[in-house]
């Protein structure tokens, strides 16, 4: 972007050449662009780097918030990695991640294709479909907990009436699926609306040409629609990965990590804020962060490439 700088220099009145005031130095693109980011960088330093260092520091200490901390080397990491709970939690997190994102993308794509036409009451129907997305996840999870109760939940009562046996949605076997379902229910509208706006923005002439050539609908979808929507699909996957790894509210509002639903992040919470084992909690948090960063850095690169930004 050196073009902008050249224009600035040209635009400066002649008498300023040679003796530039303090303001002109500030307004120089070289400094100006950094000055704009100072508040953000301060926030990042205070809220990100400082906690990160702290976390790394405590991950090699034994600390329970009562007795003074003392250095124990990598014992915390060793203990965490040898803990079977950690591997279960990791597997569950990956499981929820893959399951939610696949279902959300499939449902989102299906419903977006369905809605991608003019029909009566389209604005009302779309507006209503947006609701789940913006409701507090905590509150909605508590209400789902109520709706899916075994004894007096409405779903089980209806199942009973139509002659099916009741389902215990909060049993160790099913609880993880129920929690994934809550997350899918809440976030499918996100996929729907992102993909719908993508579909609406597609260039008409390419599809016209495909239709004239007599290409079957699924081939048009695979060869034209999908590649054109791929940046949006990457955005959905990236954001949902970030949010799902940190899934907390549906767990708190329902099983509280019991019934075989403890994810990686819930384990961090349990160790640090229920057991107050800050050392082990920090070690686990670092491992979790490391895994997330690897996944997301890869996706961010793909995203930037598909958006056409050169790095």
């Amino acid at each position: 972007m050196s073009k902008g700088a050249e224009v600035t220099a040209e635009a400066l009145p002649l008498e300023f050449e040679g003796k530039r005031s303090f303001w002109d130095v500030l307004a120089d693109e070289k400094y100006f662009k950094w000055i704009l980011t100072i508040p953000l960088i301060v926030v990042l330093l205070v809220f990100m780097l400082y906690p990160l260092f702290y976390c790394v520091y405590y991950s090699v200490q034994q600390y329970d918030m009562v007795r003074p901390a003392h250095f124990i080397g990598l014992d915390n990491f060793r203990a965490v990695l040898q803990n079977a709970d950690f591997w279960h939690g990791l597997r569950r997190t990956a499981y929820i991640l893959v399951m939610s994102i696949c279902v959300e993308l499939l449902l989102g794509m299906g419903i977006a294709l369905l809605f991608n036409r003019e029909f009566r009451g389209q604005n009302i129907i779309r507006g209503l479909c947006l609701f789940p997305l913006l409701i507090s996840p905590m509150i909605m999870s508590m209400m789902w907990n109520f709706i899916l109760q075994y004894d007096f939940g409405v779903v089980n009562m209806v199942l009973n009436v139509i002659g099916l046996s009741k389902v215990n949605f909060w049993s160790p076997k099913l609880a993880i699926y129920t929690i994934t379902f809550i997350s899918i229910w809440q976030w499918t509208p996100f996929s729907i609306f992102v993909l719908l706006s993508g579909l609406r923005g597609l260039p008409k002439d390419a599809f016209e040409a495909a239709r004239v050539d007599g290409a079957p609908a699924w081939l048009t979808f695979r060869r034209l629609t999908l590649p054109m929507l791929s940046p949006l699909i990457v955005i959905i996957i990236m954001l949902r990965t970030m949010w799902l790894i940190r899934l907390f509210d549906p767990l708190y509002a329902t099983t509280r990590g019991g019934m075989g639903t403890e994810t990686l992040d819930w384990m961090v919470y349990r160790i640090s804020f229920v057991f107050f084992d800050i050392g082990a909690g920090s070690a686990l948090a670092i491992i979790s962060l490391f895994l997330t960063l690897i996944v997301c850095a890869l996706m961010f690169r793909v995203l930037m490439k598909s958006l056409g930004v050169n790095q």
Binding site: M1, K3, G4, V7, E29, F32, K33, W34, L36, T37, P39, L40, I41, V43, F47, M48, Y50, P51, L52, C55, L114, F119, N123, I125, R126, G127, C129, L130, F131, L134, I135, S136, P137, M138, I139, M142, F146, D151, F152, N160, W185, F190, L196, S197, G198, R200, L232, I235, I245, R246, F248, D249, Y252, S272, L284, S288, L289, T292, L307, Q311
Partner: protein
């Protein structure tokens, strides 16, 4: 035939998305016996009562929860916009830091909550900032800043740089360009971002759960107390939940077009 199938599909989708929300409001008007009733015929036919609503305000001081949440949401959103607007402009126009700082900013959302929560819990305890509104405001600002910057980055990228170059050749200074050229163009995007920040702050649970108890208690934490109690009062919980989600429902209804546009992060011109 095709039209009927389409209608049925739409109806089914709507039912799945709306029914749980409808059920919150229905439950909020049910008394205790009707909630624990296992007779399915009484699911929809029950003796209506409004006793849950006054109970929520009397028992849990719900009003102060609402006020706390409103204060923290608004003040954190103002801070976020003050930080994110200039930074996003810098990233979009000058590619400051070559995408590295932008990625770092976005990555704060990938942090397991504990990475920030453990040090800040200890830090806040030392500062006696636990359970204060300003302490919570700063945390809310932290978690919203990454999303806002990313969103605004997309909106700033939609503004062609040629506009600025033209203004510069006309002799406008930096400030004049920001005020006369950039600001009018970014206003809709900034409005969408503000709405998102407000909604996210309003809905936030984890930070307020860890960092507030009584004085700075927010709606989500206040509501979670119903679930923590030994005897869960579902009716009162539904009443409180219904009131807590009402502002977000109204916002999403009134601003649906803008919200949908914001969801695509400026990757689609809509």
């Amino acid at each position: 035939m095709k039209k009927t199938a389409f209608g049925i599909a739409c109806g089914l989708i709507l039912f799945l998305f709306i029914f749980p929300i409808f059920w919150i409001y229905l439950t909020s008007f049910k008394g205790r016996p009707d909630i624990y009733n296992v007779d399915a015929s009484k699911l929809f036919i029950f003796s209506m009562t409004t006793e849950n609503y006054p109970f929520v305000f009397a028992e849990r001081d719900f009003l102060s929860d609402i006020i706390n949440t409103a204060i923290v949401s608004v003040s954190s959103t103002i801070l976020v916009m003050a930080i994110s607007l200039p930074a996003a402009y810098s990233f979009a126009r000058f590619n400051t830091g070559g995408g590295q700082i932008l990625f770092t900013t976005i990555s704060t959302r990938m942090f397991p909550v504990a990475v920030a929560a453990i040090p800040f819990f200890l830090f806040y305890r030392a500062l006696s900032a636990l359970d204060t509104l300003w302490g919570l405001t700063l945390l809310y600002m932290y978690f919203n800043v990454s999303f806002a910057t990313f969103l605004l980055y997309g909106f700033f990228r939609e503004i062609p740089p040629e506009l600025e170059h033209a203004a510069m050749t006309d002799g406008y200074g930096r400030i004049a360009i920001l005020r006369r050229v950039i600001f009018p163009l970014i206003k809709p995007g900034a409005a969408i971002t503000t709405v998102f920040c407000l909604i996210f702050a309003w809905n936030e649970f984890l930070f307020s759960f860890l960092f507030s108890r009584n004085l700075a208690r927010t709606i989500s934490v206040g509501l979670s107390l119903y679930w923590s109690a030994l005897d869960v009062q579902w009716g009162a919980m539904a009443a409180a939940a219904g009131m807590a989600i009402l502002p977000t429902l109204v916002a999403s209804w009134l601003m649906q077009r803008y919200i949908i546009r914001g969801l695509t992060f400026g990757a689609v011109k809509g």
